[in-house]
């Protein structure tokens, strides 16, 4: 039984037949994982958002697959991670084979004390279904299916859009437009913007196969396996007894011929053995690019996700980086719309996410060069690595079947303040928060739960916390752009005027290199803005203002 695709009904928008175009603060183009995440984020922050999508269902067929821990943490902040984790297949171990021999294994989350797993695998249609449900339950999200953008006219103070629907066209005026309309982004084309980057000369066959099998829930990657002459193969488990198999075909392969069941089925049978029973659920042949837009902000039009950057699939860096774009942009756009930050704050979206895109493109390009060597000499070097890897630990670390998505620490961010006092490790400014298990009111809780509402500060307290210190940070919640503080302590603290959590395991102190008196300020996207060895409310306010792009 296959997935039953929902048909989202068309509802006539109020602008149909109106004489003057309605003005909206934000229009998001594209209801994929990136556009929906951004819309939920903006609405959660009190900003109304219209989402336009030309289709009336979720992603068709087999596309995005692996969702990383940081992405799940973002979706948890948006209130929709739990059903995804419940439905998804949780995994953290990858194994690499050369021929018939295992040469390398990696564990993507070797330490405990995190709420979310390293990865889940989940079909994109399930994922989008969860996001659509969440968006529909969020006040302030106006989700419009079968609303196709037909024209875009950027101006200095906004963007004019013309939209086509089954019941006719209308015009809409947006203060800001975010194009989340995918790799072939019509918005990007309409604005005449070009991509820079490389196209890789290789073709891969994706087959989603329905079968019951007892492979472990791990990522298995083969270089030159005996069942697939000369090419690499990747195997992943998905929910509903569906398995994803990727076969490297080479540039000379004929994509149409390779998609035919009479070619695909024997290929899979050779891999799984003559007795394996399976059905094909989805087959496609793809090639890929590693490239990005030069800039992600073009005046009042912003680009996020595949419309802004593309990578190879090895490393799960596509959808994950797109959702992290939305995480970065949501609070900034909300702050600009609320008049709490200058428009120039959005230039930091460009610089921070370009840094992330470059990191993803670099990792993805390196993996692709390892998987598909460009000439005989590179293939010889690659094979030498794989042969040595069987016995030599140093060579195992060179094996690259995809370095899996990690969030970018914005090392050069203009929003970060320098450390006050010295830190050895911990979480530096620009990096995303690290989770840790805590106790609140006698119940298990997570550190990230303290960082879900705008700017937050964690005060790491010793046994004898000065009460006036806590009163001083509690007052930050009354600022026009509040900072909500919480106390993290190794021992119980009574009667403090802010949320208090007990770090029984010591992991929170350890992960932030904290000592009694340490303060860490987090941005609304849970990245660190500043940290200090002592509490200084004036310094926290300065760091918050810097993170809002205000020049002192």
């Amino acid at each position: 039984m296959g997935f039953a695709y929902p048909r989202f009904e068309f509802r006539a928008p109020p602008e149909l037949g109106a004489r003057a175009p309605a003005r909206h603060p934000v229009v998001v183009i594209g209801a994929g994982p990136v556009g929906l995440s951004l819309a939920i984020d903006l609405a959660t922050r009190g900003r109304n958002v219209v989402v336009l999508d030309d289709d009336d269902t979720v992603s068709v067929g087999s596309r995005g697959l692996c969702y990383a821990k940081r992405t799940l943490e973002i979706w948890d902040r948006l209130g929709c991670a739990a059903p995804m984790v419940e439905k998804g297949v949780t995994w953290q171990v990858g194994k690499v084979f050369f021929g018939e021999r295992q040469v390398y294994a990696f564990d993507l989350l070797p330490e405990g004390g995190h709420r979310f797993p390293a990865f889940i695998n989940l079909q994109q249609y399930h994922l989008e279904n969860f996001l659509v449900e969440r968006a529909r339950a969020t006040a302030g999200v106006d989700l419009r299916f079968r609303n196709k953008v037909a024209g875009i006219a950027p101006r200095g103070d906004g963007v004019g859009l013309t939209v086509e629907t089954p019941q006719g066209g209308y015009s809409i005026d947006a203060e800001w437009v975010v194009a989340c309309d995918g790799a072939r982004s019509p918005t990007r084309r309409a604005l005449g913007l070009d991509f820079k980057g490389r196209v890789f000369e290789d073709r891969f066959l994706i087959a989603d196969v329905r079968m019951t099998a007892d492979f472990p829930t791990e990522r298995w990657f083969w270089f030159e396996p005996p069942f697939h002459n000369g090419g690499s193969t990747l195997l992943h488990k998905q929910p509903d007894d569906i398995w994803r198999i990727d076969f490297q075909l080479g540039w000379g392969a004929d994509p149409e011929a390779e998609k035919q069941p009479e070619r695909v089925i024997p290929r899979i049978q050779r891999m799984l053995g003559p007795d394996a029973k399976f059905e094909l659920d989805w087959v496609s042949v793809y090639t890929f690019q590693c490239r990005r837009l030069e800039r992600f902000r073009h005046g009042r039009v912003l680009f996020a996700g595949d419309s802004a950057h593309q990578v190879s699939p090895f490393g799960a860096r596509g959808a994950n980086s797109g959702v992290q774009d939305a995480d970065n942009l949501g609070w900034k756009l909300a702050a600009v719309l609320a008049g709490q930050a200058p428009e120039t704050l959005l230039d930091s979206y460009d610089s921070e996410r370009v840094e992330a895109a470059d990191e993803n493109i670099l990792n993805s390009t390196r993996a692709t060069d390892f998987i598909t060597p460009k000439n005989e000499a590179s293939r010889r070097l690659r094979d030498a690595v794989l042969e040595l890897a069987a016995d030599q630990p140093f060579a195992r670390r060179l094996v690259n079947s995809g370095r899996l998505s990690l969030p970018t620490a914005y090392a050069r961010s203009p929003l970060s303040s320098p450390d006050e006092g010295s830190f050895a490790g911990g979480v530096p400014a620009g990096a995303p928060a690290r989770d840790a298990p805590l106790m609140r009111e006698g119940k298990p809780a997570w550190l990230l739960d303290l960082l879900k509402d705008g700017f937050s500060a964690l005060y790491f307290a010793g046994a004898d916390t000065p009460p006036d210190a806590v009163t001083a940070i509690a007052a930050l919640a009354n600022d026009p752009t509040p900072i909500r503080a919480a106390v993290v302590s190794r021992v119980a603290q009574a009667g403090l005027p802010v949320p208090t959590a007990i770090d029984e395991s010591g992991l929170a102190f350890e992960r932030y290199d904290a000592a009694p008196g340490t303060v860490v300020l987090f941005r609304p996207d849970q990245h660190v803005a500043a940290r200090s060895r002592h509490l200084d409310p004036a310094a926290l306010r300065r760091a918050r203002d810097r993170a809002l792009g205000k020049t002192p």
């Binding site: 000499a377 010889r380 070097l381 094979d383 030498a384 690595v385 042969e387 040595l388 060579a395 060179l398």
Partner: protein, 63 residues
């Protein structure tokens, strides 16, 4: 600043060269190329400094 040492290393140079020649005495082109690839990886890891390796690559690529 260059870090790659190009002055003669201590020890008998003829012993060093003989070891490298002997390693490929019974190999054909493809086997020798595979040997060289493994040697490069082993020695580059032993050096452990990518700047030194880059300097060596630059010198080796000079025509």
């Amino acid at each position: 600043m260059t870090k790659l040492r190009t002055t003669p290393a201590p020890g008998n140079p003829d012993d060093l060269y003989e070891a490298l020649v002997d390693a490929r005495r019974d190999l054909d082109e493809a086997q020798a190329a595979a040997l060289d690839a493994k040697l490069v990886l082993l020695l580059a890891n032993h050096i452990g400094d990518v700047d030194v390796v880059r300097e060596a690559i630059a010198l080796a690529r000079k025509r």
